[in-house]
Amino acid sequence: MTDDHVPGRLIAVEGLDGSGKSTQIHLLYQWLNGLGCKVFFSEWNSSSIVKAATRKGKKKQLLTPTTFSLIHATDFADRYERQILPMLEAGYIVLCDRYIYTSFARDTVRGCDAHWLRKLYGFASHPHITLYFRLPLETALGRILEGRPQLKFFEAGMDLHLSDDIYESFRIFQGRVKEQYDSMAEEFGFTVIDAGKHIHIQQEDVREMIEEKIDLPRFKMRVKR
């Protein structure tokens, strides 16, 4: 459920790696900041307290689907209760690069029960706007894989034993994650953005939509003169 009583507004971006969502939310942040709005940015998997545990588990490949999911939920809960929620209550526009849907998508692919996941994150309110940057799978894969980057074990879904080849594993894993996103788009009412368009055009569309849905002047920082 979205929280319509809270004075702030919550905007999340979701999509596959390579969909350009981080670029878009960065541009969004710059724009809102430039307008003088109270704006706060939070990134998936970035809580300082939880980070040490996550890094250790990932590096040593100690995580099962359940503990992988729980450790991300721990990170999210820490950021949600200490930052996101207070910011919303203080009347900020909060921008989240990935939100609970990232966990719904990835962890479901890993075999976690979809119902359990939705309950696990039941304490979090749904964003007022969720932008899903959708792209054909091959395009997203191409953007990530063209430089033959160093893929990380869990990022490539190697724990699922889809393939011994890390690039092939990444392809299959991303394909399954995309299916989850596509099916969630309706379930949670995502605003779908065609991430194949030019960056600048996408950003213009996004800004126009946000201006329509959010009364931006209400979020301007009050300055004493």
């Binding site: 545990a53 359940t66 029960d113 696990l120 304490f123």
Partner: protein
């Protein structure tokens, strides 16, 4: 060999059909004598030829150290704490408890999902949320709750440590600035939650106000029954 059950959802990658060991849980607050009883029980079982593995809270290498550190600083919200503990729990469930059960060991668990739930509930967690969080746990073959009066607990704690533990006194909840008062009230509230959990999950309540030997003899009699039943299935 009994087939293990889990409470609700399926954790991925666990085949419950092949777990031939026994899971025995000892619950109870600090100073209820849990670790002494587990040690005695473990020796007794091994002397009788049963292989034993012990587990407890906060022993997972993933989150154990991070959570210990965070507890020192008291900077985590109750929910973050819950989730950290849940991560620790499932890590041990999947990496210690299940492999040991598969190999036919008797697993003696020094506390289980009930303590974790009771602590969260006392701190105002939503009962449905907590229940779901731990719904993938394996149902133990026996759960013993060592129940002692707050008086007994406080006296034993002070005799052993000369001071009260911050968390075991529930000081983070802010019920009282007086540690003694807070300890008594916190333990009382935990007991209320435990009683509710007992109705839901059904476990054996053991009077822990008695002597070490008296408690141990009671436990052995119960465990004997569990061993017998598991063999006859």
């Amino acid at each position: 060999m009994s087939e293990k059950k889990r409470y609700e959802n399926l954790p991925p990658n666990i085949d419950l059909g092949k777990l031939s060991g026994l899971l025995i849980v000892i619950e109870g607050p600090d100073s209820s004598g849990r670790s002494t009883q587990i040690r005695l029980l473990s020796n007794w079982l091994e002397q009788r030829g049963y292989a034993v593995v012990q587990t407890g809270l906060l022993r997972s290498p993933i989150v154990g150290p991070a959570l210990e550190a965070a507890k020192q600083g008291n900077v985590l919200s109750p929910r973050t704490m819950s989730l950290f503990y849940a991560t620790d729990f499932y890590d041990q469930l999947e990496n210690t408890i299940v492999p040991a059960l598969r190999a036919g060991y008797i697993v003696l668990a020094d506390r289980y999902i009930y303590t974790l739930q009771a602590r969260d509930l006392v701190r105002g967690a939503d009962p449905g949320w907590v229940e779901s969080l731990y719904s993938m746990a394996i149902e133990p073959d026996a759960v013993f709750f060592l129940m002692a009066s707050s008086r007994t607990l406080v006296e034993r704690t002070l005799t052993a440590n000369q001071l009260l533990d911050y968390w075991e006194s529930g000081m983070d909840i802010g019920m009282s600035r007086n540690w003694f008062e807070s300890f008594i009230r916190y333990q009382r509230r935990l007991r209320v939650e435990f009683k509710k959990l007992q109705e839901k999950y059904g476990f054996e309540i053991v009077d822990a106000n008695r002597s070490v030997n008296a408690i141990q003899n009671g436990l052995r009699a119960h465990v004997e029954t569990v061993l017998h039943e598991s063999r006859s299935v």
